[in-house]
């Protein structure tokens, strides 16, 4: 029997272009790993251009935590180390060869292995990087004792993929992954699913875990919101979180003894003609997805969802933690006295527009900022989409003032940038809150280390 967590505050933004439940395979010969996908990681290369690699071979590691390594999702040749300003490593690109060769990490039953052996396997294969922690949303530290591990079985973001569908045939891998994770914590493993929905057997058959049913609008699927309601993170406490597909990836490491970086992603958005699911290998180049000419000339390609995703180039690569691609129109146009018009084609949280009269309507929203940046003026708005016992605006102000005590007091360890995405969406002052929260988290992590 599972308890129900009711999230009352939040907002579901209904967009056009939801993926139909059909999985096709898609592949190409270019893949890449982007160090920027990993918060707080300073990459040191283990390979140079021209090196041969297998799936599971190290590409780079974190300068400050050398045991955390990042491995190639495919086999082939390192075709390019793509650098940006100040020679910052942006992408390690791999050109695949004909067939997939895997590094062997030896299959084994995780229940028969010690915690140390499991850690070693995960670290060596690079799969460790799928396990992240709160606070800071960085890759977990194998030395830590997390008080819990949380797996959110659903994503509530706009057009998000349905993990019940994705994990339909992955039961064995998922359950093996849970077995492995169960050895890593003395605390509980929490699995959350959407209440009142048919749940994938992978989730319902998981043993030795605590099941939670969650109801309510986005951000109810965010691990930060869920953990806040299950077992809040205080100062000095650590909770690990893993994406459900990554649990299956961990499972496959123990079942097959190799790093199988394949996963299913949803291709979504109003500018996609046939939105659906695809089976891909992580880090895939995105050009084959966007072969078809979009309906518009200027569109934005996003790895992830519209609230928290990363803008990518048409020929860019899939983000490491992203299970979704979204394409929406760019909004670089002027709208004549737009602020005064009814604007029936726009979706707004505010009742000063009329979208609330038509709750079922799905929208084609663009990237226009819809106004100019201002100081914080309105109050009591963010709280409506921020289902935590935290004062969002006061916390943001503490971050802007770099006031560490106040940040801690107001609960910075419990939040992540994605939790502020809806506040950022509805904000009439157009503040870039996610960036502010990230700065605050990075700042406080640095101060704590020093």
């Amino acid at each position: 029997m599972s308890d129900v967590i009711r999230i009352r505050k939040g907002l579901d933004i209904k967009l056009l272009g939801e993926a139909v439940k059909k999985i096709s395979k898609i592949t190409t010969d270019k893949f890449a790993l982007k160090p920027a996908d990993f918060n707080g990681v300073f990459p040191k290369l283990s390979v140079k251009e021209g090196d041969e690699v297998k799936a599971g071979s190290p590409l780079f590691f974190d300068k400050y935590r050398e045991n955390i390594i990042f491995t190639s999702p495919v086999s082939g040749k390192v075709s390019e180390i793509y650098r940006g300003e100040k020679r910052k490593i942006l992408e390690v690109r791999i050109q695949t060869d004909e067939k997939m060769n895997y590094e062997s990490f030896d299959a084994a039953d995780p229940l028969k292995l010690s915690k140390e052996e499991i850690l070693q396997k995960l670290l060596k294969s690079g799969i460790w990087s799928y396990i992240r922690q709160r606070p800071y949303s960085i890759i977990a530290d194998p030395k830590d004792q997390p008080k819990a591990i949380i797996i959110s079985g659903f994503d509530s973001a706009p057009l998000a993929p349905d993990y019940n569908f994705i994990l339909e045939k992955q039961e064995k891998a998922f359950l093996t992954g849970i077995d492995a994770l169960s050895k890593l914590t003395a605390g509980k493993i929490h699995i959350t699913t959407r209440s009142g929905q048919a749940v994938a057997v992978a989730f319902s058959n998981a043993k030795g875990v605590v099941h939670h049913a969650v109801t309510g609008p986005h951000p109810s699927g965010n691990v930060g919101i869920q953990i806040h309601h299950i077992d809040p993170v205080g100062k000095g406490e650590i909770v690990w979180f893993v994406n459900p597909q990554a649990v299956a990836t961990i499972g496959k490491l123990f079942l097959e003894g190799r790093y199988d970086a394949s996963k299913v992603i949803a291709l979504t958005g109003s500018e996609i003609k046939n939105p659906q699911y695809f089976e891909v290998v992580n880090g895939i180049q995105l050009s084959p997805f966007f072969k078809e000419q979009p309906k518009l000339t200027e569109v934005r390609y996003i790895s992830g969802n519209v609230l928290t995703g990363t803008k990518v180039d048409k020929n860019g690569f899939l983000g490491f933690y992203d299970d979704q691609l979204t394409v929406i129109p760019e909004g670089n146009y002027h709208e004549f006295i737009g602020w005064a018009l009814p604007r029936l084609n726009k979706f707004s949280f505010s009742k000063s527009f009329f979208s609330w009269l038509n709750p079922g309507k799905k929208y084609r929203l663009d990237t226009n900022l819809n106004g100019g940046r201002r100081a914080f003026v309105l109050t009591g708005q963010y709280e409506k989409v921020f289902p935590m016992d935290i004062y969002p605006m006061q916390l943001l102000k503490a971050i802007l003032a770099r006031d560490i005590d106040q940040m801690e007091n107001l609960g910075i360890y419990e939040v992540d940038e994605e939790d502020f995405a809806l506040c950022e969406f509805i904000d009439a002052s157009k503040t870039d809150m996610q960036a502010i929260v990230r700065e605050g988290l990075d700042f406080i992590r640095k101060e704590m280390a020093g």
């Binding site: 205080g234 929406i328 737009g338 505010s350 003026v377 309105l378 904000d427 009439a428 002052s429 960036a435």
Partner: protein, 389 residues
Amino acid sequence: MKAVRKYLDKVKPQFQKGGRFEKFHSTFDAFETFLFVPDTVTIKGSHIRDPLDMKRTMSVVIIALMPALLFGMWNVGYQYHLSVGSEAGIWENFWFGFLKVLPIIIVSYVSGLGVEFIFAQYRGHEVNEGFLVSGMLIPLIVPVNIPLWMVAVATIFAVTIGKEAFGGTGMNIFNPALLTRAFLFFAYPAQITGDLVWISGLTGNAQVVDGFSGATPLSSAALGMFDKIPPLSDLFFGFIPGSIGETSKLAILIGAFILLATGIGSWRIMLSTLLGGIIMTLIFNAFGANEYMKIDALTQIMLGGFLFGAVFMATDPVTASQTNRGKWIYGFLTGVFAILIRVFNPAYPEGMMLAILLMNTFAPLIDYYVVQANIKKRLKRVKLAVENK
């Protein structure tokens, strides 16, 4: 519209850095963004953004003020014709009032926005929309006979010292419109109190009909002439002398409805202010030590600027409490103090202005304690977790 856009694009470079009119960049930007929603796209964070912006927010408030303004204009004409004992139709009354009120609106906007534009340019910011509301509120809370130069001086004072000195819209402690009124109130008391200022022309040599006093119901009450308080229906519909926008409670309620339906105004503050006023009156009723204390709650709320203040002034998000719990306390105390000042201080017939300004001062303190309670809860949880280990 394309022609306008083309023209703007053509002249835009001259207003940008290095251009001929560089010094008017903020001014140009204000007008450009007024005409067209800018073509800026999201760079960081959420890729889509709500179409609600500050311009929209502020225009909703201005729309909500329209009933009070339009009625106020009509009432200026109506009261004038009443005072000279002549008959006039609806449009005649309105036109008379329109001509009297329009100059005040223009002076308020020009002087206030002038200061805003200068500071925006000096700081390199975009012009903030906050004053669009303040500039409309100011004409509504002054007597019709106020000399225009006083409006200008008071507005410039309020915007400069009350707002820009603190860092502009969003940083100010006091409601700028009320600060304007407070400045007038203390600097030029003769022009904002008494019986003569509320009716157009009364300060001049107009031929007033016998027995017409021009006193507001509130000043009658302050002088102990409770029999001069008009019937409730007059108070409700607003056929009484008073500040331009405060008289018709019906018009104010229409505005309140717009603010609440759109979610722009805080229902917590409106409701708790009302509750504060009613409860304070009931307490006075219970004592009933003098005639003023015996006035019933409904009349108290209908008198003077109580309702206008509760709906449009106390709800200013910047100067009110910013936490939801704090809003309850803030609003309640505003209501309490407004009635308290009214009843106990005969020197100030209306307590609402001072009550709100006083609570503006305390709003950060209220928020501090509300936030502190949240902090304590968190610390307790952490302590508990440590003990359980």
